[in-house]
């Protein structure tokens, strides 16, 4: 994994990027029937893919590079060809409704974390289920997944790990439950992300593309299609973890002291504002306010009344928002440059192969997400899905989003996996066996039971 020195990785990526750039400049792909704008958008896609896959530069820098190339290169080529296009087409994705939605999610997460409301909830569950370790693991998985539906998967996993490491250390050194508890946290954080539009960036990216196609599910509808998957996968992963890591200890004596911060008036208001925001997200079809607009409410209130300070604003994960914006910008580049039309004309996609195509894209996304960032994978795969001209794009996009979350077999697959691995308590093999089984079962279920369920609730 770390075999290649960082500088070599960078140099190789830089060489590939330069080669792609000159391929675009000298119109090398003309023989494939590509016009100049199509070639430019194709080259920008290749450059983005190279840099996102190799992570030679930070992921958000790649996003900004895509914007830069779109504004300085594709825009000029299009205008030369007489196309009237505003540069806001490429700028817009960086401050779209979906970015606002995620911003709201981050702010709620920051407020809940600041007043330790997330931690208090987790402590209560662990205290209540601690008499039996299998039950406690079920409790840990349930609360981790629930929190990661609303907070970032990484922040949830970091908080839960910090809470559970003293419990793990209280168990005998050879007890396999130590590994079971440790693995239950990243797996359930990854799975929980599927449950809401703000659970993980690939969900939001899928929704943004569906919105563009005029078929986006509401916040509630996404939950109806995502929460059953979360519950089903949690149950399966509990059995998988128990199968591999059933230990000997009976229970733990862990009485957490109540956290004073949770009982302050401010903390109660934070809970109330967060619940109202969630309620407004869920009732979007009634009041017609977009979820992005609703997401501004906690931002305005928490910062407006001083519950959160300027330093909290600075500490938000702006890089994740930029990565998402870059992916959506790439989608605009592919569409504006005509690459999507070029793809539609050449790919032999019909209704007969529609399901198989979704399965193939899901498996490819899962494979890519196992080795690279989930968001970067969604950024690369989803614009291509949109470019295929499918009559039913929604289930394919949802399938890709879920497949990204289900990739959890390696320490590098997701940040929660990396955090659990960094404790030194588990080996790659410990994570690989249950993670791979969970991933395979998850993909099979997504494209069988999930596919059937999505049709029942009217996704397609």
């Amino acid at each position: 994994m770390n075999g290649m020195p960082k500088y070599l990785n960078r140099i190789l990526a830089l060489v590939v990027v330069i080669v792609f750039y000159f391929c675009g400049v000298f119109e090398v792909f003309s023989g494939w029937g590509m016009s100049k704008p199509v070639q430019v958008s194709f080259v920008i896609l290749l450059i983005g893919a190279t840099l996102w896959i190799t992570e030679a530069i930070p992921l958000f820098v790649t996003s900004l590079l895509i914007l830069f190339l779109g504004k300085t290169w594709l825009l000029g080529v299009l205008r030369e060809g007489g196309v009237k296009i505003s540069e806001t087409v490429f700028l817009g994705p960086f401050f779209s409704n979906i970015i606002l939605l995620f911003l709201g999610g981050f702010v709620i997460s920051s407020a809940l974390h600041r007043y330790k409301i997330d931690e208090d909830l987790a402590r209560r569950i662990i205290t209540k289920t601690g008499n039996s370790i299998p039950m406690m693991i079920a409790g840990i998985m349930g609360i981790t997944a629930f929190l990661s539906m609303w907070l970032s998967n990484t922040a949830t996993a970091a908080m839960m790990l910090a809470l559970c490491i003293p419990i793990i250390n209280s168990l005998p050194a050879d007890d396999r439950y130590r590994k079971a508890i440790l693995l239950s946290i990243p797996f359930s954080a990854n799975i929980g992300g599927m449950g809401t539009p703000i659970g993980t960036p690939p969900n939001a990216i899928a929704i943004q593309y569906m919105q563009k196609a005029g078929i986006a599910p509401s916040f509630l509808k996404w939950m109806i299609l995502g929460v059953p998957s979360v519950i089903g996968m949690l149950v399966i992963m509990w059995f998988v973890i128990m199968f591999f890591f059933r230990g000997t200890s009976k229970g733990i004596v862990q009485e957490f002291k109540p956290l004073k911060t949770v009982y302050s008036r401010r903390a109660k208001l934070v809970i109330a504002i967060s619940l109202v925001t969630v309620a407004l997200w869920i009732t979007e079809p009634i009041h017609k306010l977009s979820s992005g607009t609703v997401a501004l409410i906690p931002v305005l209130l928490f910062f407006g009344v001083g519950f959160l300070k300027i330093n909290d604003l600075r500490a938000l994960s702006w890089d994740v928002l930029l990565i998402m914006g870059g992916g959506l910008c790439l989608g605009e580049i592919i569409s504006a440059g005509g690459l999507s039309n070029w793809l539609v004309a050449r790919l032999p996609v019909d209704q007969g192969s529609f399901f198989m195509l979704a399965v193939v894209l899901g498996v490819v996304s899962c494979f890519m997400s196992t080795l690279m960032s989930n968001t970067a994978t969604a950024n690369l795969i989803m614009p291509i899905v949109m470019g295929m001209g499918l009559s039913q794009v929604s289930p394919v996009l949802v399938g890709v989003a879920f497949s990204c979350s289900l990739a959890m077999s390696l320490p590098i697959s997701t940040p929660p996996n990396a955090l659990a691995f960094s404790t030194g308590e588990i080996s790659v093999k410990d994570m690989l066996r249950p993670g791979l089984i969970g991933t395979i079962i998850g993909i099979v279920l997504t494209f069988t039971a999930g596919w059937w369920w999505w049709k029942i609730i009217g996704l397609y």
């Binding site: 990484t154 500490a315 990396a418």
Partner: protein, 103 residues
């Protein structure tokens, strides 16, 4: 490199106790108290706290990181933090020995 051992201004003891203070949205602070006479000795603020032997989750939490996007990058960066900290500590101890300040 300039090295100093912290010494109590009241009883001249070198035996110190560090009290780590973490307040959300503020830089972490360390208050140094003399372990012999309990005198307040010093306060300093941290920009890159790392507790050796604890995992990346501890490091991330102490830096207030929320969402992250790449497991690969987290592992790489944390491994660099650990490596740098160990190397710097070894250098400091070497220098300490040279200056005859080691206990």
């Amino acid at each position: 490199m300039e090295l100093h051992r912290q010494q109590c201004q009241k009883c001249n003891s070198y035996n110190m106790r560090n009290l780590l203070v973490r307040v959300p949205s503020k830089p972490q602070a360390v208050f140094v108290r003399c372990a012999e006479c309990n005198e307040f000795v010093a306060r300093y603020k941290l920009s890159d706290y790392y507790h050796h032997g604890k995992g990346a989750e501890s490091y991330m939490r102490s830096h207030g990181s929320g969402a992250a996007d790449s497991g690969r990058r987290i592992l790489k960066e944390f491994s660099k933090v650990v490596g740098d900290a160990e190397k710097e500590f070894a250098e400091v101890m070497e220098q300490f020995k040279k200056e005859g300040k080691a206990e």
